[in-house]
């Protein structure tokens, strides 16, 4: 009787926020708020690596710049926020 209870996650109808892993959530966040794709000096559109994009995000949000998806960064991207992009290309 002391076995841990296995948690079952349910897909709730009409729920826009799907069950996502932290990494999936971070990737979609970085894209949505302008951190992944940037214009270079010649005006060409280029994609940053996730690590570089995370650094930009951490810099913008005043977090320690680790380039990694650490707990403070996960907490930050789960915080409710304004929908206006942080980085405008």
């Amino acid at each position: 009787w002391c076995h841990p209870i296995k948690t079952i996650f349910v897909t709730f109808p009409g729920d826009v926020i799907k069950n996502m892993t932290d990494f999936e959530l971070a990737e979609s966040y970085l894209k949505r708020f302008g951190y992944m794709e940037i214009l270079d000096k010649s005006g060409q559109q280029g994609a940053l690596s996730t690590s570089k994009a995370l650094r930009r995000l951490q810099n913008q949000l005043g977090l320690k710049e680790t380039g990694k998806l650490d707990q403070p960064t996960i907490d930050a991207i789960k915080t409710p926020r304004c929908g206006v992009p942080d980085v405008r290309n």
């Binding site: 996650f9 009409g14 930050a76 304004c82 206006v84």
Partner: protein, 577 residues
């Protein structure tokens, strides 16, 4: 702080805004007030002014919407994205959108404004005690008509203060039903409905008919959310159903089982496994004031700041005693400069309890009964006005004019009526905003057009024209042909059909109401046409075919033959004792 590329900003300082829709979570008056306070955050530190429009295109158009709401940036259900706004410019630029899948409050839980009862529209006090029991939500206990109510102090038994909570049985908002309550059952496309429905809509808003047959009468309104209603999910607006079963287990309160995000939810029928009807449980919600202040920062030209305590930081954080961060001040002043000179707006009555525009108000109706131990009280439909405001002690009215045979006296957002015919009892105070929304509290002149019954109001260098509740304006008085240098219009005399003399200082002009232009040959000096009246009259009006010129508490009455036949106290006209 950051500004948008090219320092996008408004090219004028008198910014206009318009509220296109409301959220069912909050009373319209609370929403109006939250937006007023959010604009004030910015007008306190810049030369910007914000004027509300009730129709037409404003610089900042404000709306609530869910998911795909008409632009290319859909919202995402509860939490996550809260709102967004566009930088200054034409069209959608400058507009602010709020996600109505959020639970909008003032940031610290339900803010439930009451109606009727005896608490004059005060907010519910949670928890409150009633007949030995504690209540943390509105209740229908003690009533037989199903109307939810709450106490507005901690102990109903001791204080007896109560009011009714928002419900579709009391009123609706928006739509075309003039705020009437739902009529149940009602017929829509041949089907009968006994509660609010989202049928026929794809935006998820709950509505009802305000007559028994929508197909026939086409009258409808949106249902306000009860405080016990769930947020989002697929049952927005429905109450939790306790107990409910989920995956074979019974729950008597909200749970986070089945979710990876830890959010509390409940079923809205007794069996989730069978019906799959659910929603999130009400929480503290998001402060509409704080989010609006942030979004209006975007609408004025600020991008996100990376200072965590700045208002323009992108993440939401509730702050009970808000003050604008220096970073935000520097940002907005970089665009518009600092505020100069004294505040041009005189003190006016608190706006925190201002009623919504009349189309959103509940109808004049007394609920059938009151909570069981309450004596019957007079229902209060209109915004309570401080009864201590005594017009017989006002030393200088803002404007005086005759409307529909009654003299109207305006002062600081209030007005009183008196007549020398029939019942001479003075009436009022009334709130100007109830009858003529959009006007500032401080008016300089008002008059009724003799041909069209349109009402004209002047305040400073602006004027408004009302046809009933429909308003045109504000427009600048130079549009009428008055000089740009003119600071205000202080009085008006209707002459013949379609002409009005406008007074300012020692001069007057003749306005042709048909062409909306000043006639040639003006201005003229008062002394030439109106001798023996003060040159510094601040109110000039026509009453019973006589001309009145007021200075402070005195009036000079001039006959149509231009003879001053009486000088008296303004209070006489107001039928003061």
């Amino acid at each position: 702080y950051q500004t948008f590329d090219g320092d996008l900003k408004w090219d004028h300082n008198d910014i206009t805004y318009r509220i296109l829709s409301y959220s069912p979570d909050l009373d319209a008056s609370i929403i109006d007030d939250a937006f007023v306070r959010a604009f004030k955050v910015w007008s306190d530190v810049t030369p910007l002014t914000f004027t509300r429009l009730y129709n037409g295109i404003a610089d900042i158009m404000i709306s609530f919407g869910k998911k795909d709401h008409g632009d290319f940036y859909p919202f995402d259900g509860k939490d996550g994205l809260l709102a967004h706004a566009y930088p200054p410019g034409e069209g959608v630029q400058g507009d602010a959108h709020f996600d109505d899948d959020e639970y909008w409050t003032l940031g610290s839980g339900p803010a439930i404004k009451t109606y009727y009862g005896n608490a004059e529209g005060a907010l519910c006090h949670f928890p409150f005690r009633f007949e030995g029991k504690s209540y943390s939500t509105c209740t229908t206990e003690g009533r037989e008509d199903g109307l939810p109510w709450c106490a507005t102090t901690a102990d109903y038994g001791k204080d007896g203060k109560y009011g009714f909570c928002p419900s579709e049985l009391l009123y609706t908002f928006d739509g075309n039903g003039d705020g009437q309550e739902c009529v149940f059952p009602f017929v829509f496309e041949g089907k009968t409905y006994t509660s609010c429905t989202t049928e026929g809509r794809d935006d998820g808003y709950r509505w009802c008919a305000t007559t028994a047959n929508f197909d026939q009468d086409k009258k409808y309104g949106f249902c306000p959310n009860r405080d016990t209603a769930v947020i989002g999910g697929n049952s927005e607006g429905e109450p939790c159903q306790f107990p409910f079963s989920f995956l074979g287990k019974t729950y008597t309160s909200c749970t986070s089982e089945g979710r990876s995000d830890g959010k509390l939810w409940c079923a809205t029928t007794s069996n989730y496994d069978k019906d799959s009807k659910w929603g999130f449980c009400p929480d503290k919600g998001y402060s509409l004031f704080l989010v609006a202040a942030h979004e209006f920062g975007h609408a004025l030209g600020l991008e996100h700041s990376n200072i965590q305590d700045a208002l323009m930081y992108p993440m939401y954080k509730y702050i009970a005693d808000f003050s604008l961060h220096q970073d935000d001040i520097e940002g907005i002043q970089y665009l518009y400069g600092p505020k100069t000179g004294p505040d041009p707006t005189p003190p006016k009555p608190s706006t925190t309890t201002t009623s919504p525009v009349s189309t959103l108000k509940p109808t004049k109706k007394t609920p059938n009964t009151t909570p069981s131990t309450t004596p019957t009280t007079t229902p209060s439909v209109y915004t309570p006005v401080d009864p201590s405001v005594d017009p017989c002690k006002v030393d200088k009215f803002d404007a005086i004019t005759e409307i529909q045979g009654e003299l109207h006296f305006f002062k600081d957002g209030y007005y009183w009526k008196s007549s020398n015919r029939g019942n001479k009892a003075r009436k009022g105070p009334f709130m100007v905003s109830e009858r003529w929304p959009a006007l500032p509290a401080k008016l300089d002149t008002a008059f009724e057009g003799s041909l069209t019954n349109k009402m004209y109001f002047f305040a400073g260098t602006k004027f408004w024209v009302f046809t009933g509740k429909n308003v045109l304006g504000p427009r600048r008085i130079e549009k009428l042909g008055l000089p740009v240098s003119l600071k205000k219009v202080e009085g008006a005399l209707q002459r013949g059909k379609g002409k009005v003399l406008l007074f300012s200082g020692e001069n007057y002009w003749s306005l042709d109401l048909k062409t909306q232009q000043i006639d040639k040959g003006y201005p003229r000096h008062i002394d030439v046409t109106f001798p023996e009246v003060p040159m510094d009259a601040h109110d000039v009006f026509l009453y019973n075919r006589n001309y009145y010129f007021c200075r402070d508490i005195y009036y000079w009455r001039m006959t149509s033959k231009r003879q001053v036949d009486k000088v008296g106290y303004v209070y006489e006209l107001l039928n003061c004792p």
